[in-house]
């Protein structure tokens, strides 16, 4: 069964003229980590909202085309069922906190309470998520008094705790430092390894290069490319969408432009190390130029 299937989808928010999504055709396979990249206002968040059913169920507008989520037409989904089937982390950490819980531990458990999970199972699951995300130091704190980055981690944790098979994540690391971003990606990678399907909007392309199975590139509401991560990140379509490639890919491109092409186009640092090493092997000792 296809995870998400969009065919010629066009969505225009109420009271606006320009469509946020325009002629989007896309198929996402289950069990993979799909990255979504694009400039600001390219339609990434709207794509996530559509997959999750937030549009048109919450945000009103005109939806045209065919949208299938987990084999069912989006209009056939009950919003309450969608919330139990697809986990969703939004990009604004300041509106992700319920505002009604006194401690982070309780905040992470709120989704489980809503799903009617028995108390002991709830405690165990929250404990596990707290440990996985390294939130032990925060569990007693009031979620309303956390920093943006801490809120983002807590919001992420509360969705992870719900243990849905399909998770849509919109810029989960926008307020996090590099170390915390790595931790979040580590958890997302674990989810994928456990067979979960993840759609992830992210600007940190170097991290997507390491973890994503496929990448969707968006520009002005359209999908300009979708394919395996390597194919997308080494393609010109990425540059045409004004999305900077991974730093090592950009370096390899610059080297190629300077006539010093690497044996293959790297997308991660480890690949870059291999590519440069391989090229260096063909050079006499003490020769420092690549």
């Amino acid at each position: 069964m296809v995870l998400v299937s969009l065919h010629d989808v066009r969505f225009t928010y109420a009271f606006t003229e320009r469509p946020a999504l325009d002629g989007v055709t896309l198929e996402l396979e289950p069990g993979l980590l799909h990255g979504v990249v694009g400039m600001n206002a390219s339609g990434k968040s709207t794509l996530c909202a559509l997959i999750r059913g937030v549009v048109p169920h919450f945000h009103e507008g005109t939806l045209e085309g065919d949208v299938q989520v987990l084999g069912r037409d989006l209009s056939d989904w009950d919003p309450a069922d969608l919330s139990q089937t697809i986990g969703c982390v939004f990009d604004n950490p300041f509106t992700q906190i319920s505002g009604i819980k006194d401690t982070v531990f309780e905040e992470i458990a709120i989704g489980l309470e809503n799903l009617g999970v028995p108390r002991e199972a709830m405690i165990q699951r929250v404990k596990e998520v707290v440990e996985r995300l390294g939130l032990q130091a925060l569990i007693r704190k009031n979620p309303n008094e956390l920093s943006g980055g801490q809120r983002q981690k807590v919001a992420f944790a509360s969705i992870i705790a719900m243990d849905t098979d399909f998770i849509v994540i919109d810029e989960p690391t926008s307020q996090l430092d590099p170390e915390a971003s790595e931790e979040i990606f580590g958890v997302i990678d674990q989810l994928r390894r456990h067979g979960k399907s993840v759609v992830l909007v992210e600007h940190k392309i170097d991290l997507l290069a390491r973890y994503a199975d496929s990448i969707v590139v968006m520009k002005e509401g359209r999908v300009v490319m979708h394919g395996p991560t390597r194919d997308v990140l080494t393609s010109d379509a990425l540059l045409d969408a004004n999305v900077p490639p991974p730093e090592v890919t950009a370096l390899a491109r610059d080297l190629a432009d300077a006539g010093k092409e690497l044996p293959f186009m790297p997308i991660t640092r480890s690949e870059a190390y291999q590519a440069i090493s391989r090229r260096m092997e063909g050079r006499p000792r003490g020769h420092h130029t690549a």
Binding site: S83, F90, I100, N114
Partner: protein, 275 residues
């Protein structure tokens, strides 16, 4: 203490904290650990008695009882402080206004058009004491019982989570609006706009802040609703609760029954005078 010992201690404390959710919530005080609905009924009964029983003895007694309950509940210092301020700010004002304009006999003294009588003084005193007793019960309730436990008790009695969320979020919104207003005021100050000084200057600085504060709150409400939906808030299964209240003991039931009985007798006495 070594870093390992420190980490070990923190882990044990965290485990204790988590283990606390396996037991009924406690505030470490027998009065405050009463079921919020029981506290509401007892305090409500006291307010009814203060209103129903004529004269100044009942509302005065109720005010004293409220202070005693606050002391027993371990919130005496904050409650007595707040209650005293209420007495001075509102009680005194109500007493003076009521006494001045109630009329009656015998006349004690006259200042211009205002004639103060003994009847007026007694009526003013009763009115002020009744209002103080009622406001005291409300103040004491919120001093004794955290709002989240009140809502939890209501949910356990069948009130929908949606209704309790609205109430809880409304209380939190007051705090959030205050915080946002302070942030905007600080930003204004950083831009060189005068936000301090006399009352008029402060009002002039504060009024323009209201629009962005409320508009941002409205915008955030929609996003919060969606974030809540993402956490299955609208699911149709019965919600479970991480925090639980302790079962109501027999003594508490008896205590509440006596309080309600007293209130009923006081009301009956108001209809069929028994004094």
């Amino acid at each position: 203490m070594s870093a390992d010992q420190d980490r070990g201690g923190a882990a044990i404390r965290a485990e204790d904290f988590i283990d606390g959710f396996r037991r009924p919530a406690t505030q470490g005080n027998r009065v405050r650990d009463m079921n919020p609905i029981s506290v509401f009924l007892v305090l409500g009964s006291l307010a009814v008695i203060a209103v129903a029983v004529p004269g100044i003895v009942a509302p005065s007694t109720v005010c004293v009882v409220l202070v005693l309950i606050s002391l027993a509940g371990g919130v005496g210092r904050s409650f007595i402080g707040n209650f005293s301020r209420l007495f001075v700010a509102i009680g005194l004002l109500l007493f003076v206004l009521r006494s001045a304009f109630a009329g009656g006999t015998p006349v004690l003294f006259t200042i211009g058009a205002i004639t103060v009588s003994m009847e007026g003084v007694l009526e003013g005193l009763r009115f002020a004491l009744v209002v103080m007793a009622i406001s005291g019960t409300v103040t004491l309730y919120f001093a004794l019982i955290p709002i989240k436990y009140s809502m939890l008790a209501l949910e356990l009695k069948g009130v929908t989570p949606r209704a309790t969320y609205v109430l809880l979020a409304a209380f939190q919104a007051i705090t959030d609006l205050g915080k946002n207003a302070r942030v905007i005021m600080d930003a204004q100050k950083a831009r060189g706009i005068e936000t301090e000084g006399n009352f008029v200057q402060r009002v002039r600085a504060f009024v323009p802040v209201l629009a962005p504060v409320f508009l941002s709150a409205i915008a955030a409400t929609e996003e919060k609703a969606i974030a809540l939906d993402a956490r299955a808030f609208n699911s149709r299964v019965n919600h479970s609760h991480l925090v639980t209240l302790r079962p109501t003991p027999a003594w508490e039931v008896v205590f509440v029954a006596i309080a309600i009985l007293c209130a009923v007798v006081a009301c009956a006495g108001a209809v069929v005078p028994w004094y």
